[in-house]
């Protein structure tokens, strides 16, 4: 859920942002002005009060000095003239009325109770030496003011008195009274500041000497319990005469020189800061007016400035709703005008862009459909390829099994040939023994020949027997021919065997038969040799007959000796023939050996073939796997092209939302 934002106007925001700042600024300025003017006015007021009190002090001092000078002059004159009682009276009368401050004029008292006063004066003293002025006058030669007191008429006065040193030997005190009313007039009228007041206090006894309120004159300072007067009394008691503020009054103190009097001047702080309050009020009003004016100006200005913005805002709102059919007018030459024209440019370019996106998305959709079909075709093709590969795989598998079988067969053949060769070797051995025996027979024959030579001369009758021997020899010859034939047959068999081996197939088994035939032939050869031995036995029997006949006809044997020699030669011939047979048999064995080698090679080749067939099988398995992968991939491609088709559809849908 999107939180609906509160819609505000720029004008409101501008007002919201500027007005508080301006208000703060105005407040700050008002505060600063107030503080500064308050301080300045405060300082000014302090200065003014100081100046006022100084002025008053000067006035009071001047007034008092003036009178004191007058009295002192009169006193000096009297002292110089040294008058008698009558003369003194004249002098007092002379000075009477010449000083308005002392309307009663000067008067003199003596220690003996004498009292002289001007004739016109109403001043009387019943007991002058008991008076305050007399006692105080006795403490100084130069006339000076004493403390305030009430005279006989009840007026507050102060007397200026001193010892009249007229060298008469009599102690005299001269004095003159000044009314506190007069000092009060100076105090009250001498204030040089609006609404400020002053009063005079004698710090010797805390008596108020002058005050705007006449009833307070002559009273004790501490008698007034108001916060202000109490505060003043405290300051006086502390002798802290620095300017201060007491009970919302700015107060200044000033000591009157030559006396113990203290002039106190004060002004209410409200008066001091009245103008500050006025100024603050004016500033606040002016500030408020300025703020109001500013608000109005801002409202008017923002109205004027942001009017074109309203139209543009409407246009942008339409745009955000997807409507680009809007028309934007931008006729002002400021930033907002520029904004309008830029928005117009934007709308135009958006329109163009949306149109091209639309067409592009359609194209894309077509292309994605095409791509989908292509991928389907590809999927089918790859599926069939995978199947084909599977078949190929099976075939190769079978091939592999067959080759393995061939290899096994070839191995068996090699073993058989090996056995055959062993048998041939044995035959060859037998043949050699035969040769050995025939060699021995020839030697025997040679010994017979020697014997025959002894009897050849006398053995004529043996001629017949010798003929018979000749017949037996012929038979041996035929046996030998037979042996020769056997060997030729063996030769033939071995030929057959080699042919079979060359064929190397199932004929391998037939070769076993050939081998057994060869065994039989060997047996036959052995049999023939036996026959030969038998024949030779018969020959020996015949020879025994010949010997018997030789015994009878020793002389005739000698005659047969040549024949015996011939027999020996024949034996040699036989021997040579057997030797030849032996050699041929060896050749047969050699040939068999060759067959064995060939069979072994065949077996090795067959094994290699089997290994190759395995490799082919592995390769075809991989190919099957690849084919399967291709199938999967083409499936993915098909999926993707589906997705692409969907996306382009979505795009087309989105774009169709814009109105252009």
């Amino acid at each position: 859920m999107v939180k609906k934002k509160k819609q505000g106007s720029i004008r409101g925001k501008v007002l919201l942002s500027i007005v508080p700042v301006v208000v703060v600024l105005v407040l700050v300025l008002v505060a600063i002005s107030t503080i500064i003017s308050r301080r300045r006015l405060g300082d000014m007021a302090k200065d003014q009060l100081n100046s006022s009190i100084t002025n008053q002090t000067d006035n009071i001092e001047a007034w008092m000095d003036e009178n004191l000078t007058f009295f002192s002059t009169a006193k000096s004159t009297i002292e110089q003239l040294k008058p008698d009682a009558a003369g003194l009276q004249v002098l007092l009368d002379t000075y009477y009325d010449s000083n308005t401050a002392a309307p009663e004029g000067l008067y003199v008292a003596t220690s003996t109770g004498g009292f002289y006063t001007a004739t016109g004066s109403t001043h009387t003293e019943s007991n002058p030496t008991d008076t305050q002025w007399y006692k105080q006058g006795l403490t100084r030669v130069n006339m000076d003011y004493g403390t305030a007191y009430q005279d006989a008429d009840g007026r507050y006065v102060i007397s200026a008195s001193g010892i009249l040193n007229d060298a008469s030997g009599e102690i005299k005190v001269i004095s003159a009274d000044v009314s506190l009313d007069q000092i009060s007039i100076i105090v009250n009228s001498g204030v040089k500041m609006d609404e400020a007041s002053s009063f005079l206090v004698d710090t010797a006894d805390n008596t108020i000497l002058a005050h705007r309120d006449a009833s307070k004159v002559g009273t004790d300072l501490s008698a007034d319990s108001s916060a202000f007067m109490a505060g003043v009394a405290q300051k006086v008691a502390e002798r802290d005469y620095n300017q201060t503020t007491i009970a919302e009054n700015l107060v200044s103190f000033s000591e009157i020189s030559g006396t113990e009097w203290l002039l106190i001047s004060y002004v209410p702080t409200a008066v001091v800061y009245k103008s500050v309050t006025q100024l603050t009020t004016i500033l606040v009003v002016a500030g408020l007016a300025a703020i109001l004016l500013l608000v109005i100006i801002i409202m008017v200005m923002t109205n004027r400035l942001f009017k074109p913005l309203t139209a543009i805002t409407q246009n942008i709102t339409d745009m955000s709703a997807g409507d680009f059919t809007i028309d934007i007018t931008a006729d002002s030459n400021d930033e907002i005008g520029l904004m309008g024209s830029k928005v117009r440019e934007f709308v135009e370019s958006m329109r163009g862009m949306l149109a091209s996106i639309n067409s592009e998305s359609e194209k894309l959709m077509e292309q994605s459909e095409n791509s989908d079909e292509v991928s389907k075709t590809m999927f089918d093709a790859s599926s069939s390829q995978a199947q084909a590969m599977e078949g190929l795989n099976n075939t190769v598998n079978q091939l592999s099994v067959a080759v393995t079988e061939i290899a096994e067969n070839a191995t068996t053949l090699a073993m058989v040939v090996s056995d055959t060769r062993d048998n041939s070797d044995k035959a060859s051995e037998s043949m050699r023994e035969t040769v050995e025996i025939s060699k021995k027979g020839r030697e025997d024959m040679e010994q017979l020949g020697i014997a025959m030579e002894g009897i050849q001369n006398a053995n004529q009758i043996l001629a017949e027997s010798i003929d018979k021997v000749g017949a037996a020899s012929e038979e041996i010859t035929s046996i030998v021919g037979m042996i020769s034939e056997i060997s030729s047959q063996t030769n033939l068999l071995s030929l057959n065997a080699s042919i079979e081996a060359a064929r190397a197939g199932e004929a391998g088994r037939g070769f076993a038969v050939v081998a057994s035939e060869i065994g039989n032939l060997a047996n036959n050869s052995s049999q023939s040799a036996q026959d030969i031995a038998n024949l030779i036995q018969q020959i020996r029997n015949l020879i025994e007959d010949v010997v018997q006949q030789a015994n009878a006809s020793a002389k005739s044997i000698e005659e047969n000796s040549d024949l015996i020699h011939q027999a020996i030669a024949t034996f040699d011939q036989i021997y040579q023939n057997i030797e030849l047979s032996n050699e041929r048999l060896a050749a047969v064995v050699d040939n068999i050996s060759t067959v064995s080698d060939v069979a072994t090679s065949v077996a090795a080749i067959s094994e290699e073939q089997a290994a190759s067939a395995d490799e082919i099988l592995e390769t075809s398995r991989n190919m099957v796997e690849h084919a399967n992968n291709i199938t999967q991939s083409s499936q993915d491609v098909a999926d993707n092209s589906h997705e692409l088709a969907d996306t382009s559809q979505t795009l087309a849908d989105h774009v169709s939302q814009f109105k252009i």
Binding site: K13, S17, I18, V21, V22, V24, L25, V28, L29, I32, I36, N50, S111, L138, T139, R140, V141, N142, D144, I163, N165, I171, R239, S257, G258, E260
Partner: protein, 333 residues
Amino acid sequence: MKLDRLFKCRVLACMMICIMAIGLMSGCGKSSGGNGASGNGKILFVITDVDDSFRSSLAEAIKTSAQEQGLEIDYQESGDSVDVQKEIIEQAAQNGYSGCICRLADASTALQMEVAAGDMPIVFVNNDPTSELLKDSKYVYIGSPEQDAGKYEAEYVWNKLGNPTSINLVIMKGEKGHSATEGRSKAAIKYFRDNGVDVNLVFSDYANWTDENAYKYMGILSSVGGKYDAVICNNDTMALGVVKYMQDNGISTKDIPVCGVDATADGCASVAAGGMQFTVLQSAEGQGAKAVEAIAAMVKGNSISDIAGATEDGKYIWVDFEKVDASNVANYQ
């Protein structure tokens, strides 16, 4: 977001304006302050005369201190003429002196001298102008608080007499209207009042600093039959007059203490001889040293507030009086 930033910018701008406005205002409020180090470093020391023993000692003390602190001092005497004094100071200001130590010919002409001095700071000595004419670390007065002198006299008397509750007192005052006269006299009376002593002023008059007047007044006092317990004088000279009268008339100066101020040579001799009992000394050395210390600080544009004895308002440096009686008078002779 953008509006937010804009708002922040505006607030910042407004704050800057405020600060500038405040700066302007406070800038306007400030005068061309700061009397920084200027001039050629020379100090003018102008004094009326050195006829008085105190002024003589003071002048010597200032010269010695300046030498010790490596300050170049130009010493001039103006006599009692305000015109001559003003001219000397004006000349010094034109010649680029850095500061001035001045014993005013007339205390009321301080403002005239300040105008003449231009930018130079001034240390006033021996003659006290009113507080209004002084300015923090610019125009300052170095002296001893007059009221202390009166207070010390009253204190001595009261203690000497065994702290009585009432006292018959004679006060011999100096010139009427003189700051020392007022300050010393009032302070003495105040001391007694503050201690609850009932003061009976048997005699109190202006003897104008002279022994003759004091002697004469003592005669008059005697003629009117005044009985007194102690005599407090605003200076030693008057005290010596009082002592002379008492001795001439066979009055014991042992039982009735006579006190003076200044510890002059004659005063000290009298104290030693058992005439006067007490006097106070304005330390010429102390004041001279402080005067040099203050002017050295001020020509550098520094405040005098760090100097011992300076008042909070920076207008005064007070050098305490020293009490002199029979016990320590030998140190001052």
